[in-house]
Symmetry: C2
Subunit: 134 residues, 2 copies
């Protein structure tokens, strides 16, 4: 498929698909007329990239992770240097930290919403809605 279809199927603008390519995250082949040609698995990869970017990882790291995360095929171990392993382990720790932080805050929001909503439902009558202390 061409870039327009991939953009539509992933929700990622064309501009960014070209950017990902520039960052060496994806390497579509080219048709004889110079158009980029994407395969079906590019859809999954782009969605994964999107998720990782949205999760706060920079392209530089994603570039290193991608070869390891490609679920759809057998796992390859390309150039498995000790540095690569160390990078992955560091990134694993960072991901765990992020997850912990996000979870903590999500739960705090949940608690907050619980409190607020229960208070609001308790006061069905007219009552000032600002600065209630709980």
């Amino acid at each position: 498929m061409r870039i327009g279809e991939l953009a539509e199927r992933t929700g990622v603008p064309r501009r960014l698909l070209r950017y990902y390519e520039e960052q060496r995250l994806i390497t579509p082949s080219r048709a004889s007329n110079g158009y980029r040609e994407y395969t079906g698995s590019h859809v999954d990869i782009v969605l994964q990239i999107k998720g990782l970017l949205d999760a706060g990882l920079p392209t530089r790291i994603i570039q290193q992770l991608l070869p390891c995360l490609d679920k759809s095929q057998t796992i390859y171990v390309p150039n498995v240097t000790p540095e690569m392993i160390a990078t992955l382990q560091r990134e694993q720790v960072r991901l765990s930290e992020r997850i912990e932080c996000l979870t903590r805050n999500r739960d705090a929001i949940a608690d907050y919403l619980d409190t607020v909503l229960s208070v609001r439902s308790a006061n069905t009558e007219s009552m000032a809605t600002s600065c209630e202390k709980v």
Copy 2:
């Protein structure tokens, strides 16, 4: 305490502490000489901000979350508009999505590392370390 001490205690550079203030994430008081004055709880808040920023949330969102996440005091419900509640619920969903994405990828990395490390330990002898298919 002044900005230097806060910077040291949080690991966040002075420049960013001023930036957080500019973004209305923290509002230190001022001494008579114009110096910013921070309290002990600012340490926690700054660490929280740091975590959220690092987790990929923009200051604009953090600004809305902070009043709800301040654990150290009784929960206030400042201007609890329906829009605010909607924002929080949206953000809660987004956090869950991020958490899910990060978890998936962290686990994938873990799997990958498990595989790689077990393969490597199996081949204690001299063996090419590049492009082994598993």
